[in-house]
């Protein structure tokens, strides 16, 4: 009977998730107007500093082990906040790109497809990076290569700029602070 209770609870939770997904899909249309304002500019230099293994090596050499672990965890928490922001920006750009996919201008549609793919890839990498960051919080001495995420964000920024220029040639568009 315990197994039955566990399965009934799991089924109920799954049903809630599926119904929530259905409702949020139907509400998506009305939220499109505020999409652009949801993008948050990212301080890439600070991000790069937090993810730089050389900085970690320097701190490791200069600080006592216990102090280093404390500082590393604080840096990892900050890095996690940046990665979450990268993921959120990528999610917004997926939707902006999807809206532009139906454009009658082939160049805009092509740029939109490129933006969507790069944003999806980046969101995927951001999720994996977050798992690794939380893992590194448990073992602060482990290495954490974040270069793919930075490169991905740079490429996404370029794709967003391209789409932005095609949609509105007069307006400069950037989603990061280099």
């Amino acid at each position: 009977m315990t197994l039955a209770i566990v399965l009934v609870i799991a089924a109920a939770l799954s049903l809630v998730v599926i119904l929530w997904a259905a409702v949020s899909r139907s509400l998506q249309v009305s939220k499109h107007a505020g999409l652009a304002s949801q993008i948050q500019p990212l301080d890439v230099e600070a991000f790069r500093n937090l993810a730089d293994p050389a900085e970690d090596d320097y701190l490791r050499r200069r600080l006592p082990a216990s102090e280093f672990r404390r500082v590393r965890r604080a840096r990892l928490r900050a890095l996690a906040a940046y990665v979450q922001m990268v993921g959120r920006n990528a999610a917004v750009l997926v939707r902006i790109g999807q809206d532009a996919l139906a454009s009658s201008d082939p160049a805009t549609a092509e740029a939109a497809a490129q933006l969507v793919n790069q944003a999806l890839l980046l969101r995927h990498h951001a999720a994996l990076a977050l798992v690794r960051i939380y893992g590194a919080m448990a073992w602060p001495n482990s290495n954490l290569p974040a270069a793919p995420l930075l490169d991905g964000y740079r490429q996404l920024s370029v794709a967003a700029m391209l789409l932005g220029r095609l949609q509105n040639p007069a307006a400069p568009v950037r989603i990061s602070v280099w």
Binding site: L3, A4, A22, A36, N117, P172
Partner: protein, 258 residues
């Protein structure tokens, strides 16, 4: 005889109507030339209709022993689980296949997720008791329970992944997945109770009716999403924002001061 008993008017309606409707839906989709795009769903729809026609007939003919009903039922559930797996694979391919960046992830998700759920289903089935005089009855309940562990798990993964990546669904694909998901979750709960507890006959009859009613709702959802044309939402291309110059300047100053 109460309305919630086997062979009541409600019981007949709930067993007959959704399956007939599903057969009609299949025929309409075929006539509209949608059989190429929704091939596996069409196979599923007609399989369900044939399964119902055979089982319903066996149930009504008093001379056919009950054990034969359960034999046919058990075999048909096995076949149904295979068709469902192909249908869900097709939905995964449809949702993830449009995005080059995620096509591989979609395949990995269904393979590894499917394998993990299959292991879970095996463990769940191994713990379920075989307490019926006719072992086929218990085996059928356990098979249904195991099947819905996999089906509801896969559909849940599909919805969760699509929501996380903000993927756009095709109208028809979304409807098929939604109907399957609702039906699979309710069926998982009812079959888990039926396979793992000593229920009275009236309790089993109630859960049977709940299953049939849920399937009816799923068929109506499929009717709506597959036959009612999608409202064309005017998509306004959202322009990307100009960067906040104040933030740029502040960051530039900060960098120069370093």
């Amino acid at each position: 005889m109460g309305m919630f008993q086997p062979h009541s008017l409600l019981w007949h309606y709930l067993w007959v109507a959704p399956n007939l409707l599903l057969a009609v839906l299949g025929a309409v989709l075929w006539r509209r030339g949608l059989h190429k795009r929704l091939r596996v769903f069409l196979i599923y729809a007609w399989f369900e209709a044939v399964q119902w026609a055979v089982l319903y007939s066996i149930d009504l003919v008093a001379s056919i022993p009950a054990v034969d009903f359960w034999r046919v039922y058990w075999s048909s559930v096995l076949l149904e689980s295979m068709i469902l797996f192909f249908l869900i694979s097709e939905i995964f391919a449809d949702v993830f296949g449009s995005y080059a960046a995620l096509a591989r992830s979609g395949r990995v998700l269904i393979r590894w997720g499917g394998a993990l759920l299959l292991i879970m289903a095996t463990v769940v089935a191994a713990y379920a008791p075989i307490d019926n005089r006719v072992w086929l009855v218990s085996a059928s309940h356990i098979l249904q329970e195991a099947m819905y562990v996999v089906v509801s798990g896969l559909i849940l993964m599909l919805f969760a992944a699509a929501a996380y990546f903000r993927l756009t669904w095709k109208h028809a694909t979304f409807g098929i997945a939604l109907g399957l998901g609702i039906s699979a979750c309710i069926h998982l709960a009812t079959w888990a109770v039926m396979a793992n507890s000593q229920l009275s006959n009236s309790g089993r009859a109630l859960l049977d009716l709940l299953n049939m009613a849920t399937f009816h709702v799923a068929v109506l959802i499929w009717f709506y999403y597959l036959l009612v044309p999608q409202k064309v939402a005017t998509k306004i291309a959202v322009s990307l924002p100009e960067n906040n110059l104040a933030v740029w300047n502040r960051e530039l100053e900060r960098l120069l001061q370093q």
